[in-house]
């Protein structure tokens, strides 16, 4: 049944595409409206509600002192987790994260970690004994497509609003978490040789291949992930990277450095 619907839908989207159009009238490299609301959860150290079109993602940051990893005794720890709760989509099921949720969390984590946005060495409290642990918890509320970009935006926006809760743990006064970079993830799908950015949920369901590119404020690529059971030509990848850099710059300037 669902595959019949998806076949019809696929034809419809494909026919539009031949005319150079998308279901919601956007151009191929156009993002849906973005809104970012910070500090929405008072109980969290930092938080952000991101809306990307109708997609909604809430990210909360919690911090607490804990033990460092043995091989990085002087560095704080980042733990990123994503809950694809069944409230957000008929396709999500209750239970521990499946491979889709795990991949999402790991790619969000990759952006934060590889951009070196958080100065982990500044999060050392007692070398080898006690460091700050940052929990980045991604809570998907409404999956109308491209929740990965929304979650990545949410993570960095929430970190930008994060106050280190030092006083609660008797470790001095609270202070804003210092950030060194603002990574932005940009995702495109490939369908019928066309590349479409910021795919909606229907576009995602028909595409075989998706590529996410995470770029830093300095213009470097700090993370990538191809997903889906399709393939990409190298030129397609290079083209996605070029556009991704540009889109990320726009999003960063407009929403995050404000």
């Amino acid at each position: 049944m669902s595959s019949v619907i998806s076949e019809i839908r696929k034809d419809f989207i494909y026919n539009l595409l031949l005319k150079g159009e998308r279901v919601d009238g956007r151009t191929f490299d156009q993002y849906r409206d973005i809104s970012i609301e910070r500090d929405v959860i008072r109980k969290a150290e930092g938080s952000a509600l991101v809306k990307l079109g109708s997609s909604q993602v809430l990210v909360g940051i919690k911090m607490q002192p804990g033990e460092p990893f043995q091989d990085t005794p002087n560095r704080g720890v980042i733990i990123t987790n994503a809950e694809l709760v069944p409230l957000a989509s008929p396709n999500f099921e209750p239970g521990p994260p499946n491979e889709v949720g795990i991949e999402l969390a790991r790619v969000v984590d990759r952006g934060v970690r590889e951009s070196k946005a958080v100065d982990l060495e500044a999060l050392c409290i007692v070398p080898g004994k006690q460091v700050w642990i940052i929990f980045i918890d991604v809570h998907i509320l409404d999956d109308c497509g491209n929740i990965l970009d929304a979650a990545s935006l949410g993570a960095i926006a929430a970190l930008l609003s994060t106050k280190v809760p030092a006083s609660r743990f008797g470790l001095g006064e609270d202070y804003m978490l210092p950030l060194n970079d603002i990574p932005v993830a940009t995702t495109a799908i490939e369908f019928g040789d066309v590349l479409m950015f910021d795919p909606g949920v229907d576009e995602e369901s028909i595409a075989n291949t998706k590529l996410t590119v995470i770029t830093t404020a300095k213009g470097e690529i700090c993370g990538m992930q191809k997903s889906g059971k399709g393939l990409l030509k190298p030129e397609q990848i290079y083209r996605i990277v070029d556009i991704a850099c540009e889109k990320a710059r726009e999003i960063r300037e407009k929403f995050l450095e404000a």
Binding site: I41, K43, N81, E83, P86, L87, A88, P96, D137, H139
Partner: protein, 248 residues
């Protein structure tokens, strides 16, 4: 911190300035999610809770199907960041119990016999917690069910009463819940039939009566707000249809 260190009342008013029988500020928004069949966002004091309804839809796994009626599932879940000390993701014993009693608070009014072999899924996410998340969740879930067009015999409204400093109070907030003497959450139909009743702490039979009456009064007020929120979305005429649906 110890109970004795707290004075719950100042000049006859509570820590947040409320009278003993006053609700915290409530905000209800209907239809806040695009994917769900019905949804509702509620703020009750510091609580921020969102509910979604999916269904009636097919049951997986199959062996859970009932031949003569829809089954109802209810999943109460707290976001990791919703509380002071980060909560590990996933259900714990408390959330299993709350899911069960919340489901049983709503099932009496859902016309499950209309949808044999189906499931109606209710998902409640607590985004910020401040005492009273189960009642907030039930209130949001009941509105989300109406928003999803699920036929109901009536609305369900939920509210707690508590006892602090030997006084019965309505809708306890975090401090009152943590250091109070009793907590009594209920849910009920507009007609006054009780569908949720839990209690812990210590109440004399007289205090118990008083607390039940006060909680029922609170639930009645919440009912008006649920109704108003549905009217705001569906307009007067449609909402009255819902209400016809929703009143025996």
């Amino acid at each position: 911190m110890d109970k004795s260190d707290i004075s719950f009342f100042k000049d006859g008013l509570r820590l947040d300035g409320r009278r003993a029988d006053q609700l915290r500020p409530i905000r209800i928004e209907v239809g806040v999610l695009a994917r769900a069949d019905g949804s509702c966002y509620i703020e009750m004091g510091g609580n921020k809770v969102i509910a979604a309804v999916y269904g009636p839809r097919e049951v997986h796994p199959r062996h859970l199907q009932e031949v003569t009626r829809a089954i109802v599932r209810y999943r109460y879940n707290m976001a990791s960041f919703s509380v002071e000390e980060r909560k590990r993701p996933g259900p714990d014993r408390r959330s299993y119990e709350l899911s069960k009693v919340s489901r049983e608070a709503l099932e009496p009014v859902i016309m499950t016999s209309y949808f044999p072999r189906s499931v109606i899924d209710v998902f409640v996410e607590v985004l910020q917690a401040d005492a009273g998340t189960r009642t907030a969740g039930i209130n949001a879930a009941a509105v989300a069910l109406a928003d999803a067009g699920i036929p109901m015999k009536s609305m369900i409204s939920s509210c707690a009463a508590g006892k602090v400093a030997d006084t019965i109070v309505l809708d306890p907030m975090k401090e009152e819940d943590n250091f109070g003497q009793a907590d009594l959450p209920i849910a009920m139909t507009p007609g006054g039939d009780i569908t949720l009743m839990q209690m812990d702490g210590g109440l004399s039979p007289d205090e118990f009566h008083q607390a039940v009456e006060m909680a029922m009064k609170g639930a009645r007020d919440i009912y008006e707000m649920q109704r108003a929120a549905l009217v705001e979305k569906y307009g007067k005429i449609e909402a009255s249809t819902i209400e016809v649906n929703a009143c025996e």
